[in-house]
Symmetry: C2
Subunit: 289 residues, 2 copies
């Protein structure tokens, strides 16, 4: 018998991964969670049958959701992650010595439990003393908290099920409220090929609330179509290309698997079809010098 984990994509595409065994399977209050040991991609986390991370390529997503903002913001001391219960985003944030406090707000305790038990590659970071894990609804959290953050990362699943409100204007109004002056929010922004309308909507919502809105791309091995995006929005004048100093990356001494100073700038060069789709609402890059 051969065992497969199958992600059914709505454009008439199935992605099937050959699986050795299932390590974790739970119907939580919010979603179905499966962790499998795959043949070619290491351990993989699926929420509602959609690939969240694989051990083989999670470095792409996690380096790219974190480092562009942290190498552009002058000094992130306090970071808030909404979602991201696997811990990979927190792991990359903690590499920056400026970070004193990182709060993870994950709605589903089963994601955190499953990853803690089976995917230490990402979840080990959650044990760091600078981290506080809150099992709570991120939408309610940003509406109610008095805390302020230099950086908010919305490390969400697709806009179905529990993640739907994370793509709406009320949520981003509250994200803006919890950001310290000059703060930045980076969000998982789906695929430019498959989700052109969603990307327009996100950029439009952010454009009503933030001074600068940009979108950048990364190439994930296990997401349908490969090319996916993050939005970058700042409350102040911070431009992720014009205010980026490549020397900061070199001076960090960090070793990366995907990110780098060249990759940072290249990620903001959008394919023509995507640039046209979003041109009306994106902020132009700030000229340098």
């Amino acid at each position: 018998m051969s065992l497969w984990a199958e992600e059914r994509h709505d454009a008439g595409l199935d992605l099937r991964y050959r699986v050795r065994r299932t390590l974790f399977s739970e119907e939580s209050e919010f979603q179905r969670i499966d962790i499998v040991e795959s043949e070619g991609y290491g351990k993989m986390l699926f929420n509602d049958g959609v690939v969240m991370i694989s051990e083989r390529d999670e470095f792409v997503y996690h380096e790219m959701i974190v480092h562009p903002a942290l190498f552009v913001h002058p000094c992130v001391k306090r970071a808030l992650v909404i979602g991201g219960g696997d811990g990979g985003t927190v792991r990359e944030i903690l590499r920056h010595p400026s970070v004193e406090h990182c709060r993870l707000v994950e709605i589903d305790p089963a994601v955190v439990e499953g990853c803690k038990k089976h995917i230490p590659q990402t979840s080990a970071a959650l044990a760091d003393p600078r981290v506080e894990v809150s099992i709570a609804d991120g939408v309610a959290f940003v509406a109610e908290t008095d805390e302020r953050y230099d950086l908010v990362i919305v490390d969400s699943t697709d806009p179905i099920g529990p993640a739907t409100p994370l793509f709406g204007p009320e949520f981003y109004g509250n994200v803006r409220r919890v950001l310290a002056p000059g703060g930045v929010v980076v969000s998982q922004a789906e695929s430019p090929f498959y989700e052109a309308e969603r990307q327009r909507s996100m950029v439009s919502i952010l454009g009503d609330l933030f001074e600068r809105v940009r979108i950048y791309n990364y190439s994930n091995l296990t997401y349908p179509g490969g090319l996916w995006s993050f939005t970058f929005a700042s409350t102040g004048d911070l431009c992720p290309t014009g205010d980026f100093d490549p020397a900061r990356v070199r001076e960090s001494g960090f070793e990366f698997e995907y990110y780098g100073a060249d990759v940072h700038l290249a990620a903001f060069a959008l394919p023509a079809f995507q640039a046209r789709n979003l041109s009306r609402r994106l902020t132009p890059a700030k000229g340098r010098g």
Copy 2:
């Protein structure tokens, strides 16, 4: 009943496309060829069960295999395409008014016939009077011809079956021979995620024969993993980034779906893991100014 066209990938991954009907199916001397009408990707061409092109995303591959070289080389008059029987690469080459002659050398007449009949979106270009289609083995062609070209494009399938010699040193020795002074060869170079060893081998073979060797990436919707590469090699001093003038792209007046001046430069910014894999043999970019 639901009908699927399935590409089995060797890392324990299957990609299945929902299909309305099969339009063309032939076992040629060289390979099995299928053209299907898919649910989400328009018509699709499969060689030996591997996706070659889909109407939905062929613009990515064809714009990116063609325009970087044509906007860097000072004046391509004669172009040679090895493989590429679907016609998409020829279509993009012909957009450049400097091109006087374009020869396509495709080994398999069934690919050309099938695409002429069912995929005019790419194959219509083959009827242009500047084009000469030769049904012949590209390996033998470059070994024997007395013709000289400013640009050679190796638009090959994966290195299995008839395309295997197109990845070897003898072939590239002959490609070098048919290039006019200052000529450029661009080749389909597989996936940096899945084919790290193949990319090292290609860059090493090219490095022994050409003055400058670079690799650049593009994001194809229907290729496994999304991120794929092309090599760029030149007999002279031509550098695809240092000698690139973005104004040429603007002045062309061309409308693109994927390519653009920013995308051109960004494509040469390699993810860290790929840059490390290839660092010993790639030529550094020429400084500008």
